[in-house]
Amino acid sequence: MTVTVLHAGLLTTIQDLGRYGAQKYGVIVSGAMDSYSLRIANLLVGNEEGEAAIEVTLFGTSLQFKKDQLIAITGADLAANLDGVKAPIWRPVLARKGSILTFKSSTKGARAYIAFAGGISVPQAMGSKSTYIRAGIGGFQGRALQKGDTFNCGEMSTLGQSLFYQLKARSPHFTWSVNYKALLNLQQAQTIRVLEGTEFNRFDQQSQQILFTESYTISRQADRMGYRLESKTPLTLIEEFELLSEGVTYGTIQVPTNGQPIILMADHQTTGGYPKIGQVISADLPNLAQLQPTATIQFKKVSLEQAQTVFIKNERLIADIKRSIQLKMHKLK
């Protein structure tokens, strides 16, 4: 076995980019809450972007390496520590045989990702390694990681091997790291960009304005399924109406009868029946995923065209990061 879990922490799960294709059967997508950090962690160890990695929530996880292993830690700064020394993040790192990686508590953000060169060797369930706890499928035996769990890593790619041997020969990590700041915001007070939801016009004018002027607090009931928000003024409909259940997605802002919005997150149900006042743009979902309970957000309205333009821009940024990592390797040779 390559990796042993010494302490599980608050919630530590195996996640990839999600389980698509089975929402029509009621099977949720799941996947990394912060997909940008997951993708970059994988790129930093020479994996395909969508390989499974470990998602650590807020604090308390500790892993031991049973052999030399190339890893990368991205996302939140959870005071990662490798054998008593601050572990470098956003860059490839060599974890030596016997070494222990710990995450103490968050100094910035909510979710850290650990990618392993060669990926995590757990079977796919319906095309994905993401953990879906309620249905007991995916990840490690369909559940969150627990103390004593062990798993293997897969075969390293050519780039992964190259990085691995460079680090073994020189130093445990490179001096460069990915500048994620153009992609990801780890601040705990943020502006989140939102599109009008399918039922936006069924809310009264005051509510339509409040959504973009009021500040919202993420409640303590926030989890991978949804963020409940709290604000002074509840949102109200012009008149009550019955909405039939229909498809919802990551970032959908639903308003239940109490008028306090809920943002659906990565483990959201496939369908919902509450009116949808807004939809967080895809490019801001990783930022949202990095917010902790009690963090505050302000919504800003953007157009669909703007949202799709940002989506495309960010995909190009990730492609650039991928090229830069490959280029670094060529320079080393």
Binding site: G21, A135, T271, L304, F311
Partner: protein
């Protein structure tokens, strides 16, 4: 079918999905259009298409805007416009060829007793005998309009109003998988053990969620089902 005028609207569900609305309300004829479009999009996917999720009168299409954008040679349309155009063309073909007739799935149900603790309550509150409730619940054919809420959970249409019963005031903390319930004018089956407020009238020994199979569920949207009363003898639950 093709002479039917279909008022189709496309509404964005964020920047990476859209909902194709094919009518209003709960009607088998509208749902048939949803099933057609669902089939057409899966047979004719566009580049960047991820998946389609049918509901009562609409279909949600998930897509990757970047791949849609890259697939376009002149790149004058936004990804949303491009996907809408593709889907509009497909909706014109709804009804071109007959949908495959699906067979009726029979679900054996043990009504009452420990498997249906609320059967008596449902009977009492509707002034019916237990036998009448079982008969009314099991004589209708139900259409599976959509699957949602949990893997394999069917949203059914066609329950008789005579047995409609409000949800429990306090939801149960656990409802065993396979439980058959009534909530208002709806009926359905819990595929997984979950908390829930439905009135539980029976249980089926069949698994509705089959993660190792393809498709991973016993039921799909468009299926028809019938509940078949059976006795608990000889069934292990």
């Amino acid at each position: 079918m093709s002479q039917l005028t279909i008022k189709t609207t496309m509404k964005p569900l964020g920047d990476s999905a859209l909902i194709v609305q094919l009518g209003e309300g709960i009607y088998p004829s509208i749902h048939e259009k949803v099933s057609y479009l669902s089939l057409l999009i899966e047979e004719n996917p566009f580049e960047g298409f991820i998946e389609a999720v049918p509901a009562y009168n609409n279909l949600t299409i998930y897509y990757n805007p970047y791949i849609v954008y890259l697939s376009q040679t002149n790149r004058t349309l936004t990804p949303f416009q491009q996907v809408s155009t593709h889907l509009k063309t497909l909706t014109e073909r709804i009804g071109d060829k007959p949908l495959l007739k699906k067979s009726v799935v029979e679900l054996p149900v043990i009504y009452g007793g420990e498997f249906g603790p609320d059967l008596e309550y449902v009977a009492k509150s509707n002034n019916l005998s237990i036998e009448e409730v079982i008969q009314i619940h099991s004589e209708n054919e139900y259409l599976v309009y959509m699957i949602g809420f949990a893997p394999g959970f069917p949203f059914l249409g066609g329950m008789d109003k005579r047995i409609a019963t409000p949800r429990k005031e306090t939801p149960r903390l656990t409802i065993p998988s396979g439980s058959v319930g009534i909530a208002g004018k709806q009926t359905g089956v819990y595929p997984l053990e979950t908390p829930g407020g439905w009135q539980i009238i029976g249980r089926t020994p069949l698994d509705l969620f089959l993660p190792d199979m393809s498709p991973p569920t016993l039921l799909e949207a468009g299926d028809k089902i019938r509940f078949m009363p059976v006795s608990a003898k000889g069934l292990s639950l």
